[in-house]
């Protein structure tokens, strides 16, 4: 079974994000360096990605506020995510930032970084050196590493290369990643994190509520593209999403579907983006929102009181 289709989901997501950025849904000056401009997507896609990006962002902000400058971020299946550069621009200081994806994907990311001064500059500010291999890049507090999340020993070794500290409060981010991994590998991954990290917050954006016609059709479409959703059983509903953390020794978990997440975003912002593209009807968007969720799990006590309307 090939991992290619799963890697291709990064292209899809990145292109969609760039399209939405182009239309003004949110600002991201760095994504054009990684992804070419594509034809316009349907308005539902743009709104869906807006909700995803802004929803995850709220939890990132909450985490950074609580964790302060010793914070560490590990972005699993990061693809062409530009969070590091955007946080840098905002003057946010972290002790460490690690991105992990298939080596094929990180190779392309490293290549793009190498070729673009604007990207290199931001990761290379102090006079530290930049260590570059075909698939990995280490520069100051930024690390992009190629690894297979199903291989825990490889992952552990690579994280050590990235100077990850198990003592620092750590944010794990995963956007539609775990669903492509077999259950026992996911359990091992989450269990391993729980055994090593003292204080952590895991933010997982993924499908949910899949046990209906819409879910069936979505699964069929994704399978037709070669994406076998090995971890789909955890996406049955919000409870199963949370159970994934609890059963792997995480202290606690909460989950919200994207309807809740979207409508908790500031009203002024929602009104702004709703004017960008007129939606002729709401059915499709509501269905999309109901079938995706953000689930958070935590280790330690620092993040136990997290809510989806995080401080701005």
């Amino acid at each position: 079974m090939s991992d290619e289709p799963v890697m291709a989901t990064n292209d899809d997501a990145s292109e969609c994000k760039r399209g939405a950025v182009q239309l003004g849904y949110w600002q991201d000056n760095y994504i054009p360096y990684f992804v070419r401009q594509i034809e316009k997507r349907a308005p539902e896609i743009n709104r869906g990605y807006y909700a995803r990006v802004k929803g995850v962002e709220r939890f990132i902000k909450t985490f950074l506020k609580k964790a302060g400058s010793s914070s560490q971020i590990v972005n699993l299946g990061a693809g062409f995510d530009t969070l590091y550069w955007r946080l840098k621009d905002q003057g946010v200081y972290m002790s460490n930032y690690v991105e992990i994806d298939f080596p094929t994907v990180t190779a392309r990311k490293c290549y793009a970084i190498k070729r673009n001064k604007q990207l290199l500059e931001r990761i290379h500010e102090q006079d530290g050196e930049v260590k570059l291999s075909a698939t990995d890049l280490h520069a100051g507090n930024y690390h992009c590493i190629g690894a297979d999340l199903r291989n825990i020993s490889q992952l552990e070794m690579k994280l050590q290369q990235a100077e990850v500290s198990f003592a620092n409060p750590t944010l794990f981010i995963a956007e539609c990643v775990l669903v492509y991994i077999e259950n026992d590998c996911v359990n091992r991954l989450l269990g391993w994190i729980a055994s090593k990290f003292k204080s952590a917050l895991f933010v997982n954006y993924e499908m949910c509520n899949m046990n209906d016609t819409f879910g069936d059709v979505m699964l069929g479409n994704l399978r037709a593209r070669g994406c076998t959703l090995a971890g789909i059983s955890f996406c049955k509903n919000l409870e199963t999403q949370k159970s994934r953390f609890i059963s792997n020794n995480w202290q606690g978990a909460k989950a919200w579907d994207m309807v809740q997440i979207y409508y908790d975003l500031p009203a002024a912002e929602r009104q702004r983006i709703e004017k960008i593209e007129f939606l002729d009807e709401q059915e499709l968007l509501i269905q999309l929102f109901q079938h995706y969720c953000i689930c958070v799990g935590w280790l330690g006590t620092e993040f136990a009181d997290i809510s989806c309307n995080g401080g701005d």
């Binding site: 997501a13 316009k40 308005p43 869906g48 016609t213 069936d216 979505m218 994704l222 059915e283």
Partner: protein
């Protein structure tokens, strides 16, 4: 297509001769109006000898004939770059600019020609004409209020479009649609072929002329023993449209159909759908009906894929012609004076009559409010009264509104579409407001069934047929920017 000019290269006599030969050959094809063949040969001439302005100039002219105005412009510019003394180059560039609507730019080039050739009468004429247009546009812009009505239809020159020998698709017989043509057309489309633009334009021009003569409300008579079928939204789902015909029979004098709007957008085969429907309209004008939906409008088409699809398969000019044609689609149909059919729904006012609907001046983009807007956008609601539409356009109307409207206009019930339904249809307002939606698994995403309504003239009782989606070819993802198959992954 464009070859790179090798600067300062010395042409071998061989290449020079080859170029001239190819050009002459191309000119012959041009004279016979076989422009595509001419283009090919000019291109070969350019390959042999890329330093000759005339080759680019002639190819530019051939591109103009085939409406490839962008290429025509590029070639004309290249010709000028290679040889500023080649005055025809400026002519060609001006013509390309004119076709692209860039009259100011065209004027500059015409002006240059008149300066360089002060005794050239033709140049002077063209300059004067172009100048008139530029001045006229400036004047119109200064006084314009809204909706300046272009007439693309009058600029289409069918005679200039030639059918290449390689074209194997269906052909109109004497410019007319026949059943044979329609059968061949549907076969062509099932195999993802393309109708020649000459016939595509002809269909659009003829159907526009037909609709222009129709009132905004069409009265349909159904004989007491006769069957009539009403279909809802199709949304570019061509293979599901073919499934409807295989379930319910092809349209004919004895098997009349009404398609209730939203023929295009969202699905990947909108072009195929609309030409099939327009073809049947021309074939059976008194037995095949089409009503305007909210997606038969320019803004919707630009956002939900139809515009992109037409531009990819044909030209921007055709996309504009579609806008003109859609403006003339009737807004509602009244069956046997008992059942009113419209795409959206009813009104914010209580006293709207059939007479008023028939008199709506519809040749325009749907307005943001008023009866024409509401016909295309409104939705029924379960509770009595009215409410602002959740869509932000039109209104929501309750069972009491429907009842009053039917009583006022002596009707039995209304049929409308516009909303996706799990079972393809829904009966609301105590049987007085029926929704029918004919696009199953809408957007490859919703998993809904599609449905159509059949009724007999004598009792006008609706019977529902539901069906699942059928398979369709997977076009290149996001080909026309509307597919939701990308979802969020």
């Amino acid at each position: 297509m464009n070859s790179e000019v090798k600067e300062n290269c010395v042409m071998s006599q061989e290449n020079v001769d080859a170029g001239e030969r190819l050009k002459s050959e191309a000119n012959e094809y041009f004279k016979k109006q076989n422009y595509n063949a001419a283009i090919e040969l000019y291109s070969k001439a350019i390959e042999a000898n890329p330093t000759v302005a005339i080759y680019y100039g002639n190819r530019s002219f051939a591109y103009l004939k085939t409406e490839c105005f962008g290429y025509a412009l590029a070639d004309a510019s290249k010709a000028i770059e290679l040889d500023k003394s080649y005055v025809k180059g400026f002519y060609r560039r001006a013509a390309a600019h004119m076709s692209l609507g860039k009259f100011k730019e065209a004027l500059k080039d015409y002006e240059y020609v008149t300066k360089v050739r002060p005794n050239d009468k033709d140049a002077k004429t063209k300059y004067t004409e172009c100048n008139k247009i530029v001045k006229k546009l400036a004047f119109e812009k200064a006084i314009s209020v809204e909706d300046t009505k272009k007439n693309i239809a009058s600029t289409i020159n069918l005679d200039a479009m030639t059918i290449e020998n390689e074209y194997t698709g269906p052909e109109l017989e004497d410019g007319k649609v026949t059943l044979q043509f329609m059968k061949e057309l549907m076969e062509l489309y099932k195999n993802q072929g393309k109708l020649h633009r000459k016939y595509a334009y002809k269909i659009l021009l003829d159907v526009k002329a037909y609709f222009m003569k129709q009132p905004s409300l069409i009265d349909v008579e159904i004989g007491s023993e006769n069957k009539f079928t009403v279909c809802g939204d199709i949304h570019g789902q061509f293979y599901d449209l073919m499934n409807i015909f295989s379930l319910n029979g092809l349209p004919s004098e004895t098997n009349p159909y009404l398609f209730n709007g939203d023929f295009v957008d969202r699905g990947s085969f909108s072009v195929e759908c609309i030409f099939t429907l327009f073809g049947f309209k021309l074939l059976f004008p008194d037995y095949f009906f089409m009503s305007r939906g909210n997606h038969e409008s320019a803004t919707m088409n630009q956002m939900y894929g139809f515009d992109g699809e037409v531009k990819a398969k044909y030209t921007a000019q055709m996309a504009e012609l579609f806008t003109e044609v859609y403006n003339w689609l009737p807004l509602a149909h009244c069956l046997n004076k008992r059942v009113l059919v419209m795409h959206g729904g009813l009104f914010t006012r209580d006293d709207v009559t059939l007479g008023e609907i028939g008199k709506i001046d519809r040749n325009r983009q749907p307005p943001e409010d008023g009866p024409m807007c509401e016909l295309l956008w409104s939705d029924p609601q379960p509770q009595n009264g009215r409410a602002p539409s959740k869509r932000g356009v039109g209104c929501q109307f309750g069972p009491d509104v429907t009842k009053k409207f039917l009583e006022l206009n002596k009707l039995d019930y209304i049929i409308r579409s516009h909303e996706v339904k799990n079972n393809g249809y829904e009966v609301a307002h105590d049987g007085k407001c029926i929704t029918v939606f004919s696009a199953p698994n809408y957007c490859d995403t919703m998993g809904n069934q599609g449905a159509f309504i059949t009724l007999k003239g004598k009792d006008m009782e609706p019977k529902f047929t539901t069906y699942e989606a059928v398979a369709h070819p997977n076009v290149k993802p996001m080909a026309y920017a509307h597919s939701l198959l990308s979802l969020m992954c």
